[in-house]
Symmetry: D2
């Protein structure tokens, strides 16, 4: 029952560019959202296992953030202040220092980049090149870092890259852990870098996602990330940990690499950083690398003041003690169990990811998309990822109530069962 040409959506078809995408999978018009659920204009409610692609880790419209934002607006709090000093930025920085940096022994500074992940990644790449005087940045297979020309060069997906319309420069591609079966990717990378005639220019940085979100929920091991960190140091390169999708609690800790014993030099953050899904991004950088001149990387919307307000609330509410982390851990176990049921239905299926960033590789994009489509019909918003969209990906809000979470997982299991039955019956004909 596609609605794309129906009356309510016609303005979208008529006026919104063909670049639009999620609206094609979830073909209804949403009007409100709260916690783990979205409601469309017909009053139908959907459980949200997409969460703005991990931008809504605390759910939709958290009541405390809502209230703080409304209070701010009603008091004529600043909506746009360029990168001037504001009381809201001050409060955010203090909270970030207290709740995040200090407890983790980190001394990073915060650069307010343009309020998109790709902008934070571009800032990181620019700074790495500026600091080292080198051009080459090592990025990984299946990596996704954004769509502006610098970040796009580091992104692996062929279709996205082709959209650039010109050759993309400055990146050497290396295999992510596990991307080549049994091949020891770390040994491969080391051998290529150690060989002075390999044709690989000395790197400015390694740009790596500790867990690849768009790339198929590939989770690197601590050993592998430590190896990358060691190679970076050995070759005079910086380590950029792109924690845009995996960070802010998604894997169970604020940063996805917290328990991995590495110290990234540069950490782009975005998505759930504002807490409430507002556009906001930042680059954490070690103080000794902060060689930026004033405005050397600027942008009109850097430092979204509304986002400072909600982000501060999020930090204070969720990261003042370890109770939130413990809840995530418990929920992650439930998730693994449920996904295991899905995996058991499909020959060769594999569990992917970790924490609340897990999924099932069902072997084909067609099957994965069918499962997601059937889930949507049953009231669950869920998407695929991976090079061939072969992974059914669960990115539920970390705050999802247990009952809602269980209900969503059951829908997923039902959808998978139906999809497989349909596929089997087709195959049997």
């Amino acid at each position: 029952m596609p609605k794309d040409n129906s009356v309510p959506t016609s303005i979208f078809v008529r006026r919104e560019s063909e670049a639009r995408s999620y609206c094609r999978s979830f073909d209804t018009v949403f009007s409100s959202a709260s916690g783990s659920e979205m409601t469309d204009e017909d009053g139908r409610t959907y459980i949200d296992f997409l969460a703005g692609c991990s931008s809504l880790n605390y759910g939709h419209n958290d009541p405390d953030m809502k209230q703080a934002l409304v209070d701010h607006v009603m008091a004529d709090g600043i909506a746009h202040g360029l990168d001037m000093y504001t009381t809201q930025k001050q409060a955010f920085l203090e909270a970030f220092e207290e709740k995040i940096l200090k407890p983790r022994g980190m001394d990073h500074k915060v650069m307010m980049t343009g309020p998109t992940g790709t902008n934070a990644v571009e800032a990181a790449m620019k700074l790495a090149r500026k600091v080292t005087g080198r051009t080459n940045i090592i990025a990984f297979t299946n990596g996704f870092h954004g769509m502006t020309m610098g970040a796009l060069a580091a992104t692996g997906n062929a279709g996205k890259r082709a959209g650039g319309g010109m050759a993309l420069h400055g990146i050497t591609r290396m295999p992510y852990e596990g991307s080549l079966g049994d091949v020891d990717t770390l040994a491969f990378i080391e051998a290529m870098l150690d060989n002075s005639s390999s044709g690989i220019d000395a790197p400015a940085a390694f740009l790596v996602e500790p867990v690849q979100g768009e790339g198929g929920l590939n989770a690197a091991s601590a050993e592998w990330l430590q190896g990358i960190a060691r190679l970076a140091k050995k070759h005079g390169a910086l380590l950029i940990a792109d924690d845009i999708q995996a960070g802010i609690g998604r894997t169970g800790t604020f940063f996805s690499f917290e328990e991995m014993d590495i110290e990234p030099d540069l950490i782009p953050l975005a998505k759930s950083l504002s807490g409430m899904g507002l556009p906001f991004a930042a680059l954490l950088l070690k103080p000794e690398l902060d060689i930026w001149k004033p405005a050397e990387h600027n942008g009109t919307f850097r430092g979204n003041t509304h986002a400072f307000v909600t982000a501060r609330v999020a930090l204070e509410k969720f990261w003042s003690d370890d109770s939130f982390q413990r809840k995530i851990a418990a929920k992650s176990v439930a998730l693994t169990t449920a996904l295991g049921q899905v995996a058991d239905m499909v020959d060769g299926a594999q569990l992917k990811g970790r924490g609340m960033m897990q999924g099932v590789d069902v072997g084909s994009g067609e099957l994965a998309s069918d499962i997601c489509a059937r889930a949507f019909d049953k009231g669950l918003i869920i998407e695929t990822s991976g090079a061939e969209d072969e992974v059914v990906k669960v990115l539920a809000p970390l705050t999802t109530p247990d009952a809602v979470f269980a209900k969503g997982l059951n829908i997923l299991i039902d959808a998978a069962r139906d999809a497989l039955a349909a596929h089997t019956s087709i195959a049997a004909e």
Copy 2:
């Protein structure tokens, strides 16, 4: 009386990257803002002639936008919906079609890019290259288009470009109108393009700001822009009018080129598009160019739902008839008069820009900065622009009440008088 190391600002010095900039000129901590004025934490009020670099054309916290946003939030309106269909996007698109496109006979589609100007520019550049199969984009001296690698290549400023840390590709630089004194820049460009041995690759697009904001308030004439449009057509290139700073009423009409008899193929918009200073950007594109595949250019925060709400209010409130335009026109006259008084004080000073985007080139960045610094001490927020920061630039909210506008202009005149007196007395020693 620099406050940068004082107690209230120490968190900024300690934790915010050296890339921060405006806060260095306006060294206080702002806490609220309304209409044309900002207030700092000590309760001091400043008239704002910067307006978020033209992101606050309707002033701070317009009461109707505020109310609509608060209502939306309190009703659990969607804060983040990726690029799904929402009632808020629907309402925005309908308003944009009714209030902007139809009255101007335009048939452009709207692409929700990442919510930054640079992202809209990158999308335009990518699309122009994709449509034409060519790489080369012609950009202009003193142009400013953003800081991500694609847009940065098109930006003229040497310092900004150096921040990229690597060579920037895909751009041929041509002189903007008036940038070379009496030289007929249009004839020059035409001669270079017509010569098959000039070494200039066939262009995918011309990327031009009708009025250059950062570049020094250079306003191109209708004849010159028509000439560029003609050359684009002649050489099979698209015309991209970057209206990020000059658009949304700043020059007196919604688009800065409305009265110029040109039809740009692609129009990046940002800054004041949301009405309230929220991060929001879009690319207008002629329907026949909409060859994007789904998600070929995507981004987590494309289509900021809060911004849809406020942008719709702005369109309905200010663009339903021509009364707003008439008020801008009147205010622009007052602005020209006042700036004329400043210009009269300085040998060789020149008025720059048009509409509510005017300034005075006082011949040196040192003098211009001194004027701005003295204005700030007197309670006026105002900045410079130009390659050497030699232009004192007025970007007051278009809604500034006449009395406040007059007061601000008087402060500016006083500051200029003081600065010149000081300079003269130094010169006399």
Copy 3:
């Protein structure tokens, strides 16, 4: 009477790539050549006003060079010695120092590059970038510097550039003197470089031909070249004078810029350097710029030993006193006179070039090609140049006997008259 598919040439059609070119204009099979004349396999003799595109400035098979080469070969002189020390290289370097460098007060060192002009240009570009740490090289409209990717980037011709199959980087294009009618190109270039927001990166070098051969025999004035030299110094860039076609006596002096009061840092030489048309190229470089590491730019055929032998003879025979230069000067006058007769026949025709590197711009490539084709039928080998092949170009050996020279010029005048008559009669129909 095209022969391209006839029996004698069929092996060429069958086995030689479509990239072949001159053989298409001069469709016969040549078997021998002496002095200013070439003879084909049918015994027909042609006067050669092409001279290997200025590679045979001393004519074909100069008897002294022939003898020296034959003596060398018969004595088992080295044919190929990589870049080892040989008595032949020693003798060449000594002659070059004595006959060329010392009398001109030059202290340049000699780098034996691969034996092609494009390789010498690439070496110059690499060294300029290495010395300055900058990427950007300023090249000029209508410049021709070779066909390998570095040099091709600096070449203006659209067709040649398209052959590269990918975007070419690292070059900013500036207008050559006179390329834009009355526009003061030097002032334009200076304004673009002085504007820190022009988007032109600081240059590593200016790469300029004192006379543009392929570009249409455009001869820069001393004032203009001095201006370029001054701008190079002002902006910390090197001056590369590509004297591959205009050097080795072609304009009347050994270097084409000798009387221009400039001191180029780097001077690529090739074409007539060997004296006898053998593959040979070199890069002259100021000693303080010689920061090459051993083999940092190498090549199997660098330092062609046969060419050392003939080049030494050429230097000793023609450059031991000023008699050769005086003869060139006299012949150049005769050339100007004859070309004046051609120019007088064509409305708007213009004399181009200087010395023995002159031609007539007849306004269209069609007419110029017709003149050359008719000349060939009458026994004269002559070619066109320019962006549209609109210039009939005379590059006769500098040693052409006066009678042969006069005969060749008369053929040219006759061919022009016939061509114009044909064009006029077509136009009259």
Copy 4:
């Protein structure tokens, strides 16, 4: 006993660029050469196991080539004819068709590129990009393809690449067979290309040396090369076999890949192609790929006529039957035996290469260089190769008489023994 500053060589030090290299290892002034031996100005004779880096596969000054060249010159045969048709080119093409192409069932056309290997490689790269409309060319670790910017991008050596002075584009680097120990490099390459999110752009070509000369005498297996050919076909890419150093009989057959059951689309040739060490290069291309427009890739010295003369003699003399190949095979066996003796002296030493392109990896550049230096003192010219110069490389003329060959090999064995003794005694102290 370094002679670099002595009287005879002072002109070199004073006037030749620091880029000079082989003369540093072989510090004497050579004056003549015949067959397998070179003689310096003091009358000392050296056995030549370098052979112009495989440019003198038929030895120095082959008497038949000498005579043909002298006859040609004395008869005023053309020395330089651009790319016009000449009887000499005709005879060369006929011989090449008869002796090389037809017997091997090949239908390639011949493109006369500039007379350097790097130019032939650039032509191949340009054509591959032009034919496929793609930019990316896959090159291999330790590959060496030349020093102009296009070919340099494909070259692996870090020092050579750094000489370019700017970032090099358009190449993706893949591991050569055996470069990573036991890793299945073919499987790796296939996995990277098959993954649509690997970030590797679709390739225009694979550029591979069947035996890597400069890279350390790495000889790919037939299986591996067939695998590369299969991947090229699978991904719509051309196969470029760079046979510049390994071709023209060096490995035992005219092309190094003859017995490998692959059909390269493009084959750059140079070095020994002229037979006598004269500058000459060509690109063989399958007829259906010959989409070049006239002069789209040109060059003054393309089609060196002297080289046509000697190359024709070489083809007729050595490739009319299989006797030459049988002699090479026999000599190759002797070479393997002798190198085995060297390898036996050094712990962990490895035999490298195949045919008359063999060497010993002695584990360190220091040791290999010491062996070569001692060999030179004993009258043998021999060089190293490999990323760290760790391979002692034998590139003797294929025509070396057995006695001379044995004598040279004995010198090598002695030099190795002496070097090892010295190293051991140092180590023992």
